[in-house]
Structure formats: structure tokens, C-alpha cells
Point group: D2
Chain length 285, copies 4
């Protein structure tokens, strides 16, 4: 079912998320804790920004498991960024191929997804029919995740160029409305699970949602403070005393330090603005 992480704030070494915490992303790739199926070995991906060079992110994906990947080990030790996203995959819809690895990249945006739409094949065609040629042709892979991202992008592209985290959140909601319509049209009643994170280098939005009232969405937490640090094998969020803020969104708690992790309430979004202020917002659809 995948595990994900997104971060925006003070520059931090990728190592602090991928390798150092007790329940690091790498740990989650072979032994995730907060989900029934502990194995996320069908490829992985990381994306990050160096805005002093370009607004475009770099993405590194692989169809090998994350846990024994020499290239990732090296990268994590030298990539220091103020905005990044990471994902380990358990393939549900779609082959194990690079074009099915998260995060997906469109313009200067990155998106990763944890969850899925049951019987996605039933709505795939109607979803694609809703896409403009630009997004239709941008699609490369087979996953429900990438298709949902394309649908979301249709709505986001209708916003003003200098959009805010609220516009991103609105686009998520419009995507959900469209998805529910399509599911209903095909009588799909199994819940769709939509935990998604969006970043563009300057803002970040995390969605924790499921289409069914009968079930809980998958876990999603956020953490905010001054900076995420690891010292003597202990990783924690330094409390913020002012403008030096950092925010992280994770599928699973990276550590047992309880105060570091706040649950995003069921069917809510966490919005992180350009000034790094944070707002919770209910999904109103």
C-alpha cells in the first residue's frame, strides 16, 4: 500500500528521513509498522529541490527495493534540501516499472500517493476522457495514482498562476468529487484510499481521505518545529521559536517520540503555506 514522506522547511539532509530514524523510510520499505502489509519492496522514489539552481525538482526512482540500494545510500548522504518527498512502493495497480514509481513530476510539482482505487480499470477510461490533451499525453504509467494526479492537475491548472496552498486543497477536493462521480457511475462501492502529498518547492499539502464513511482513512501524521535533527542516534523535531520553521508529513511516525507527531484528522488536509504556516482543513465533499 506504499509509505510516503514530504518535507518543507529548513535545509535538511535526506539521510535524516531515509536512514537515521528508528522507523526510517528504509525501515518502512521492508517492515512498515502502521499498515497490514509490511512490505514496500516494489521500487521507490525521492524528489527534491535546489531552488537556487532551478525551480524544477530532481527525481530519482528505482524499481529495486529501497533497502539495499547503493545509489540511494549515497544520494541521501549528500542531498540537502529545503523541500523533498520520498515514497516506497507496494505495487497494487501497475507493473513494477520506473514510470509507475512515485513521486510523479509535472512542471515544478511533485506528488506521491498512498492508497488506491479499487477496480480502477472500470473508471480509467472515463478519467482519461476528462483530461485535456496536455495532461492526457503527459501520463506515462499505469497507476491509479498518476491518473488521479493528472485529474488533480486539471483543476489546479484552472487556478491563478500564483496559487496558494488553499488552491491546491481546492483542487484535491475537486478531484475527489470527480472520482466519486466516476465510481458511482460504475457502481464501485469499495472505499478508495487517498493519502496524497503535493509539493512545489514552496508549499505543501497533505490529504488524508477515504471515500467511505464506514472505514478509517490510512494513517497520516505531520510534525512541525524548527528543524529535524538526529543526534547520537536519536531523531527529533527541534521546537520552533520563530521564523525558522519546518514541516513534515509522514505515513508512519518515524520515532516513538510522541510529541513530534500529530495525527491529521480523518478526511482532513494539512496545508503548509509559503511562509511555512500550517492549517488543518476538513475535506468538505
Amino acid at each position: 500500500m506504499c509509505r510516503l514522506l514530504a518535507y518543507l522547511g529548513q535545509p535538511v539532509l535526506m539521510d535524516k528521513f531515509l536512514y537515521e530514524p528508528d522507523n526510517s523510510m528504509i525501515k518502512q520499505s521492508f517492515e512498515a509498522k502502521e499498515i497490514e502489509e509490511p512490505l514496500n519492496g516494489d521500487g521507490f522514489g525521492v524528489g527534491w529541490y535546489h531552488k537556487h539552481i532551478t525551480h524544477q525538482p530532481a527525481v530519482f526512482v528505482s524499481i529495486y527495493p529501497a533497502w539495499n540500494n547503493r545509489n540511494l545510500r549515497y544520494l541521501a548522504s549528500l542531498v540537502q534540501s529545503d523541500c523533498l518527498i520520498a515514497h516506497v512502493r507496494a505495487a497494487s495497480v501497475g507493473d513494477v516499472s520506473e514510470s509507475n514509481c512515485h513521486p510523479f513530476h509535472y512542471r515544478n510539482y511533485l506528488m506521491a500517493h498512498n492508497g488506491g482505487v479499487e477496480e480502477f480499470d472500470k473508471i480509467k477510461r472515463s478519467l482519461k476522457d476528462r483530461l485535456s490533451d496536455e495532461r492526457y499525453l503527459w501520463l506515462k504509467g499505469q497507476t491509479d495514482s498518476e491518473h488521479l494526479f493528472a485529474l488533480f492537475l486539471e483543476y489546479l491548472s484552472a487556478k491563478k498562476a500564483d496559487f496558494t496552498a488553499d488552491d491546491v486543497a481546492d483542487s484535491f477536493e475537486e478531484m475527489i468529487v470527480a472520482l466519486k462521480e466516476m465510481m458511482e457511475a460504475k457502481s464501485i462501492t469499495a472505499p478508495a484510499y487517498l493519502n496524497m502529498v503535493f509539493v512545489d518547492g514552496e508549499r505543501m499539502v497533505g490529504l488524508r481521505y477515504t471515500t467511505s464513511k464506514e472505514v478509517k482513512p490510512l494513517t497520516l501524521y505531520y510534525s512541525e518545529g524548527s528543524k529535524y535533527v538526529c543526534e547520537d542516534g536519536v531523531c527529533y523535531m527541534v521546537p520552533s521559536e520563530g521564523s525558522d520553521k519546518s514541516v513534515m508529513i509522514v505515513s508512519e511516525k518515524l520515532t516513538d517520540i510522541a510529541q513530534d507527531w500529530k495525527t491529521i484528522p480523518d478526511n482532513h488536509m494539512v496545508l503548509v503555506y509559503k511562509d511555512l504556516s500550517v492549517k488543518l482543513r476538513k475535506v468538505e465533499v
Copy 2:
């Protein structure tokens, strides 16, 4: 632009096509002779049948170059089949991923393509709109080749269940008609190159075609005889004296033995029937 080979007839070891001839498929993967761009290093694929086990073929594809592939080296030394197909890829449309490797497999059919449709993105959407849900959802990759195969399959699926090589040829022609319509609708004038081979374990059809009258189609040859053998480093087709027939279709001559290779005339198909009889047929569209 890719190189391909298809074979139907007496059981033969894959080695005889892939490694042993002077201008073997492996040789063509790094130094093709009869095409401008000699490099076909963007993955490869082989497919073969063991009809005494099942009518379904096996397919082995890889996104590594064919020339240094240990697995392929081993396979070729032990796979002996009466029907096989091989392809080395030079990526034009689509990433280097397994789902873009030829041959493509649908039911018990295999298809490989050498050529391409310029500005394929312009017609991709209208092509997919012509597909039934079954073929629409069957599509996995990004190539023009796989999309054309899906279109061809629409026509083939309308034939009788026990179709003949002529039905396959008809379906190729219907695919061409549809392609030309779509190209015209989008004012694509650059020639599409369509060298394609189809096998189903019992019949084989090769197409050598281009949509433009102004240019020549890419090279395509066939060879027929009793059996393809390699002795003391010399590979040749043993002349047939009766029912023990074998037919091969190749993008390039595998050797300099002139009498082994007959050119398929421009815009023609070669049809190999279940009884291994061979017919040339002009593309009448």
C-alpha cells in the same frame, strides 16, 4: 529504429538466430548494417512457443542492451522452438521500460515492429478512442508500436476464431487504413514506417510498408527452406525437399549467403500459413 526477426517451422535453437550468424540479432544490437542508425541498445525481447505445453508463448524482455546479457546468452542456448520472435530496440517513442519492449503479447499472439509513426502524440488519443475497452485496458506502455498492435487486434478480433494468415493480412490493411485516416485528420505528412511481424505459434505474417509513395519502406527479407542450421561457424538455410519447411522473416540479412534471402517487395506482406506454405501479397490500401 529497431531490428526484428520471426521464425516458424522446424524446431531450432534460439542461438542460431541470436548469436551464431555473422550478422546475428546480437550483432545488430550494437552494429546494425542495413539502417542509418546502427545502435539498438534500448532493451530487447524474445518470445517463443512450446505448443506441447501450452498455446501461450513465453516472453523474455529486458531494458539492458542485448549484447552483454547473461540471461539471454543462457536462454538462447536451451530454448528450442518451432515459432519465435526476437527484437532489439532503438527507443524512438516511449521510455526504456519493460512495457515498451517488443514483442507485445496478447492472447496467444506476439507482434514486433520496426519503424514508427512521426508525431504519434497527435493521433494517440483518437487511436485509443477507437479501441474497445478490452484492448484499451490491455495497453501497458507508451509506444506507437503497441498502440498500433491494439488497433490491429480490433480488426483481427472481428475475424472468425480460426482465422488464417489472410485474415491477419486483412487486419494489417484495416489498421493501415485507420492509421492513414488519423494521420490525415491531423495533417501528419511525414511517412509512417510499418515493418511488423505477427505470429501465433502456427502462422506468421510479415508486413513491409510505408505510408508515403515518395520513400522506400525499411528493409525486410524472408528466407524459406527445410531448416536453418549453423555448422563450423557458417549459418545457412537447408533447401527444402518436401514438408519439412521453415520460414524466417528478418530486418537484415543474417549472412552474406545471397540465395538465402529474398526481399519482400515494397509495400507487400509475406503470409506463412499453417501448412508453412508462403505467399506474397501486395498491400492494397
Copy 3:
């Protein structure tokens, strides 16, 4: 710690071992039952013989996990052999690379290993010093397994050309003696676990051993009968009534059918002769 399987007998489709049983090799790749660490996702390998073509086996290895491998899925559906070996790897010593994947191939022999030598680096050099140039240069990878196989091959190569399963068993014992000497010289006291299978297309030997008296060797079973079949989702060994024999050696029981699986006693070998007769033999070192 890896899981392995070896088979000698009536021709059988690879599918019957890799995919069809409840606890198939593929199942063991992500959820092994009879070992502490259930994950064997660091590559895999299969080897098989078609003796009517050549005495040399083919080997197919991959550094991807076995559970989602399209090529393996296809291969297993068409490879039917009277002698094969399969292995899923959990990397302990050595990178995840093709040259570290089992089975290892030397001449017409294949060998796979489940287990390991603690602190192998301490004896690597002295082990290699014991090798003839031929075996020294044959070594390609980094694993303790391949090095132990090379050492074993030194002893086997000293036997008569037409060696028997007993000669293979003797060579395993000589390898163990040498290993213990080297471990002692370096004061390595942690137990080495040596579950190994050897095949050459005509005979098969399985070793279940650990260097320490204080611990149990890893699990290893064998099964004998007429043929291994799967019908309506149930896989079982058909009892043999005569010369149509088949023998299988496995790290884990493939099914819950108790009578199909006999435990190889601690520190014993199972020897399968050219006539497919089976003998248990204690490791006397």
C-alpha cells in the same frame, strides 16, 4: 537467509515449484515461514537442464525480487525439465548483483546455498589461497556461498571424471573440514550454516549442516515419489510404483501435506543417484 529448492526426476514444469504450491518459492520470497526473517527479496535465480540439447544448464538470475518478475512468470510457464534448481536471496554477504545470485554455475554443475559463514572476511583470503588458478579465476562474486562452492569444486575435481553422488558427498565433507580449519585459525566460533544443494543434471546431493553442536542446522526436507503434480490448486507428490521416480529437496515444505515431506536429519546429506535411488548419509566430520 535465502530459500532454495532442487529437483531431479520426471520432467516437470517450473511453475509447479515456483508458483503453484501454497508455500511456493515465490511465496517464500516475500513471506517465508520456516525462518526468522521472512523476506528474501534480494534477487533470485533458477537453473535447469535440457539434456537432449546439451549437458550445460541454463541459468536465469535477477537482482529484482522474485515476486513481481514478469520474465520469471513466463519462464516458469514454459520451462519443463527433469533437473532444476531455484533460489531466492536475502543478502547477507555481498552486494545485490547478478554475480552474487544463486545458483552458481561451474562446468555442468549448479549449486545453491542457504546459510552463511559469520565473519567470512576473516577467512576469505586463506580460502582463496587454497584454490587452484582455475577456480580462483572462475570466482566472480563476493558471497561466502560462491567461495565455498569453489572450495568444494577443488575436492570434486580430484575425484574420478564419472563421479557419483558419494563423491559429491565426500567433497562436501572435505569442504567442511577445510572450512572448520580456517574458522579455527581465525577463532571464529559463531556457527556456520551450510544448507547446500548440488546438481549436475543427473545426480543431486543436499547438505544440511552447521559447524556448531550447540545449534540446529536450518530446515531442509526432501520428498520422493513418482512425480510432483498440481491439480485444482492442490500440489502433491504422486507415490512411485517403480522406476518413474522424482526427488525434491526444499528449505521449506511447499504444502501442508505432511507425508510429502521428510526431514533430512541434522548434519546429514541426502544423496540422489543417477538411477534416482536415495540415500541419507551422516556428515562424519
Copy 4:
């Protein structure tokens, strides 16, 4: 035979070497100009330093060809470093595996090689016998290149901890002396080609050498100036006017701009010191 590049100086984006020049490293991967065999498609590697984070480099290698590698394309667009090394491989000795990809990494050093030792197997064992346990166990792959690097490291490790480019050059010479001894002992007369670059983040040495007086070493150039830039599709070295120096070593000229490329004379080394001053030195062995 491989192609390589090394750089030390002002921070520069990897793109400027890998993709932007007319004869970029990527171009050289499929169509090298200054060598008989134009294809370098058997994997690649890049290494780079961010000394403000750590003295250890990161290395990214792949066994896919460089020309269609999405991860490399992304990396090159965001990695900006003052010291880097890049290599595209044409496999001669050793499989296509990650452990055979250059650059090789030991402590904070990186080394890449273009060339080879004929009949390397004949001296492999005696070379390894000369290594201390540390370097013996550090070796992971099969290439002559990595083994020569290990030998070189024996000599370098005997120098003072704060060694200079001259110490590196001395170590190259000692490595050559040892190699020649071993070749002579085994009557290897075919010339060994040794174009090698060494960096440690602060100094760089390039060696252009062959063991035979009868043949020319492979091509090797260097370029020095203030900074390497690409503007409107034209890449060039900006002349230096003071302390803002940069130096590059390449197998092939990246452009046709003649004044940018100085030939390293036959059997010479180019030494780049910590202060970025440059010296040519004859190999005196």
C-alpha cells in the same frame, strides 16, 4: 574502452559536462569520436563532492546505458559541485554489474580508468597477493581497473596523511613499476593502456600512459581557466584572471574550440594541486 572526465575548481552544474557540450559525455556514450570503438554502453558512473556537508563523495552508477537514463538526466540538472568525475563504460574485463562501474570509491578518493591490461587474468592473483588485507577485502568487482586502483592505494597509503598531488603521482608510478614486473613475470607483451584520473575533493591527478614504447597512449586532454560555462548552446572555458581557477581532464575534447584543450603529452601526468595550480610531469618509469 571507456571515456572519462574529471573536474576540480569553481562549482559547476554536472549538466555542463554530461549533456550540454556538442561532444558531451552522453554523446560519447553512444558515439565517441576519438577512439576506434564508439560505443560505451555498458553502464556508467558519476561521483561528486559537497565538502560543506562531508568529505565523502557520493557515487551514482548504473548498468544501463547513460544515453537514456532518466535518473542521470535529473541528477545532472541539480548537482553542482567543485569536484566531480564521470565515466561511461565499454566492458572489456568484467561483467556489466554495478561493482564494475567506475568511479571506484575508497575513503574519500575516487578513481576512473580508460584502457586496460591484456590477459589480466594472468596477473590477477599476483596483484592481489601484493595487497594488504584492507585493500584485498575492499575489492568488490572483477575489473583490472579496480584491482589497479587497489594496488595504487597500497602505495598512496604509505605516504603522509596530508599527501600532495606529487604523492599521488608517485603512487601512480609505483603502481606502474609493479604492473610491469607482473606483466614481465607472465610474459605479457601486449601494451597495457593506463589513462586514469584520481580526485579526493581537493586535488586531482590525470595519468596518460601505456607500457609499450611502440604505441601511443590513448587520448587525454586537460583544460584550465576560470570556469566552464555553456551559453546559447556553446560551451567553453572562461579564461582565468586570478584565483578563480578550474581544471578539467577529459578523454575526448568536449567541443571543437581548439584553445580549450591541451594534450597531455605521451606518458605524462597532469597534477592539479590544492591551490588549483597545474603541473605536467613525465612518467619516469
